[in-house]
């Protein structure tokens, strides 16, 4: 079977059984259970019983929850955009280094992935604290009059989320950037484009699909984060994921948590689809 061709023989179909089954067991079945639970009836002071009602979805349309949804989408998009903004030039410079210089940098970056969200969150809360944080360093240098508490705050949450997403951004950007034909950049130079102009008119447009992929991955990844906003933010900085956890674990309201999770999934899916559609139409009319 060649790439991109539909399977024809029984053997080729058989090869799809295993991945298909795993997708069903690990993803579709739990997802179906979640949909079902989101429609169940909640028993006050208890758990839930089978039912069919839209009360949980209706409750969601109060300003408290929809505000948090908007905030979640906003901070996820911002953190992801920040990662791409910093990560793209970073990776562009990285792939131009020699192999020997690249490996330690990549290992260091990927080692961040081995840290749990809790550790990263608390590390940032210390770094941004008044007593032991970076502001003391700035006071010592003379840039600040007295140390400041930078956490909890919106900036601290953004910082933590970006830090956690950054390695993924690099992972997505690295392969297409390292495959970029260097002669394409050189061709732009011989045609009179300065290095900055080349970057803007050739490198970025050619790699737009990779940039978009990195942004979407970062966005979805950040959207699911529920510890960082609690550690580094005030209650108004809590994302919907935090509220879902709150409802599921502390309020024992599984149907409502499931309904919110469903809603978050649908909204983010719609946003991803919209982004891709926007990219396609932009491609048609450059």
């Amino acid at each position: 079977m060649r790439r991109g061709e539909p399977p024809r023989t029984l053997r080729q179909h058989a090869a799809l059984v295993y991945p298909g089954a795993m997708l069903g067991v690990l993803f579709l079945v739990p997802f179906a259970i979640m949909i079902a639970v989101s429609l169940y009836h909640r028993v006050e002071q208890g758990f839930y019983e089978p039912g069919f009602e839209f009360t949980h979805y209706a409750r969601f349309f109060t300003s408290f929850f929809s505000d948090h949804l908007l905030f979640s989408l906003f901070i996820a998009a911002l953190a992801s955009a920040l990662c791409v903004l910093v990560g793209f030039p970073f990776t562009y410079a990285l792939v131009r280094l020699g192999r020997r210089a690249q490996i330690p940098i990549l290992v260091l970056l990927l080692s961040v992935l081995s840290l749990s969200e809790v550790i990263v969150g608390f590390a940032w809360s210390v770094l941004l604290s008044k007593n032991a944080g970076l502001s003391n360093l700035l006071v010592w240098i003379g840039l600040l009059a007295k140390p400041l508490a930078w956490s909890p705050s919106f900036g601290a949450v953004l910082c933590g989320l970006s830090y956690l997403t950054f390695p993924y951004t690099i992972l997505v950007l690295y392969p297409p950037l390292s495959r970029l034909d260097r002669e394409m950049v050189e061709a732009a130079r011989t045609l009179g484009a300065s290095p900055a102009r080349t970057f803007a008119t050739v490198v970025i447009p050619v790699l737009r699909p990779a940039i978009l992929a990195a942004f979407i991955l970062g966005f979805v990844f950040t959207l699911g984060s529920y510890l960082t906003p609690q550690i580094l933010g005030r209650p108004q900085h809590w994302t919907l994921s935090v509220l879902i956890t709150d409802q599921a674990i502390y309020a024992a309201n599984i149907p409502f948590a499931a309904a919110m999770a469903m809603f978050l999934t649908l909204v983010s899916l719609a946003l991803v689809a919209a982004t891709l559609a926007l990219n396609r139409s932009a491609r048609r009319t450059p």
Binding site: E183, M184, E186, T190, G192, T201
Partner: protein, 350 residues
């Protein structure tokens, strides 16, 4: 005096411990097509990239029309270049690819469009400006890359192995086409190639490179007929290289026999070791006995008859000589166990 398009003075380029270009001095005439020819790793591409400004030299100067451009960055040199990978921009249409340089210069869109279409006419590919690059064949992409490189009317046109991705037939016709285009525009052009046939077909001047230096720079036929050294003789066409010793004015000794040669290079002393280069087409086969002047006895070891030419390998003891003849010169060598050859022309080098 001929105007110099490009002058290179003591040009050197090191990559760490590797010296890619080792002291090149060249004057390339304006308005001509020059081929940099050599095996892979000989420094020919590096030399081209130095001229384009894509590499900066470790030492030496580069002059374009007498102006020192050694320190001028690529985007201000105004050289058009066709890359080995062609390096067309996949996010732009054919027309926008060609007009890229014009857009960078801030020329208005209508004029961009007109020029792109004119250039497509020039490379005989009209009416594809709105197509996507991926919708073109290899040969068409080649033409687009050439049109894009010529869009800014560059003072120098550089091509790095431009035809290597094309199949043999298309390559041959593109060689002729490129040559005619260059003549029409009269633009100083440098083509890097490892294909000696391509260099011979296209160029006014062939620069044979080897080991980071210029081995010989001359007109194609001059290089073929009078190679300066064994490297050039071996690289351009096929040849028989025979160890020899200089025996005096117009005489050399090889394989224990004295031969007359038409000319010897200047400044070579009697008794010096040399290499005799004899082109296969200059080796003429005769039936024995081997008593003719400049004759040598041997035994036919192998015959490759491909119809258009007959190649005969003759074992002469210390060396195996190769003779190439056309069918009309055919000698029925199969039945002749020994033969003799005469050298009509010979070239000595050392």
């Amino acid at each position: 005096m001929e105007a110099h398009g490009v002058s290179l003075r003591g040009l050197r380029k090191r990559f760490g411990p590797i010296v890619a270009v080792d002291g090149v001095d060249l004057d390339l005439p304006a308005g001509k097509l020059i081929a940099f020819l050599g095996p892979s790793g000989c420094g020919k591409t590096t030399l081209l990239r130095l001229i384009a400004g894509l590499e900066s030299p470790s030492a030496g100067r580069i002059l374009l029309d007498g102006e020192d451009v050694t320190e001028v960055p690529t985007h201000r040199r105004n050289v058009g270049m066709v890359f080995q990978s062609l390096a067309l921009f996949p996010h732009l249409s054919v027309g926008d690819n060609i007009a890229y340089g014009l857009r960078i210069r801030g020329i208005d869109r209508g004029a961009q469009r007109r020029q792109a279409e004119e250039l497509l006419e020039l490379v005989q590919l009209p009416g594809v400006a709105d197509r996507h690059v991926s919708a073109l064949s290899g040969g068409q992409r080649q033409r687009v890359a050439i049109a894009r490189a010529l869009a800014l009317e560059p003072r120098l046109f550089l091509l790095d192995e431009p035809l290597s991705a094309l199949d043999a037939k298309l390559r041959e016709s593109m060689q002729v086409e490129l040559r005619l285009l260059q003549r029409r525009l009269g633009i100083t052009t440098i083509v890097v190639t490892h294909d000696q046939r391509e260099a011979m077909t296209m160029s006014d001047l062939v620069v044979v490179m080897g080991h980071g230096t210029v081995q010989q720079a001359a007109a194609p036929l001059a290089i073929y007929r009078a190679p300066l050294n064994a490297f050039v003789a071996g690289f351009i066409g096929s040849t028989n290289l025979i160890p020899a010793t200089i025996a005096g004015a117009g005489r050399i000794v090889c394989m224990g026999r004295e031969f007359a040669v038409a000319s010897l290079p200047d400044g070579i002393a009697t008794g010096a070791a040399a290499v005799l280069s004899v082109r296969p087409e200059d080796v003429v086969l005769h039936p024995p006995p081997a008593s003719r002047p400049n004759g040598l006895g041997g035994r036919v070891a192998f015959i490759r008859d491909v119809g258009a030419s007959i190649e005969t390998h003759v074992d002469c003891g210390a060396v195996t000589l190769i003779s190439v003849a056309t069918p009309k010169d055919r000698l029925d060598v199969d039945t002749v166990p020994t033969w003799k050859r005469s050298c009509r022309r010979r070239l000595a080098s050392w």
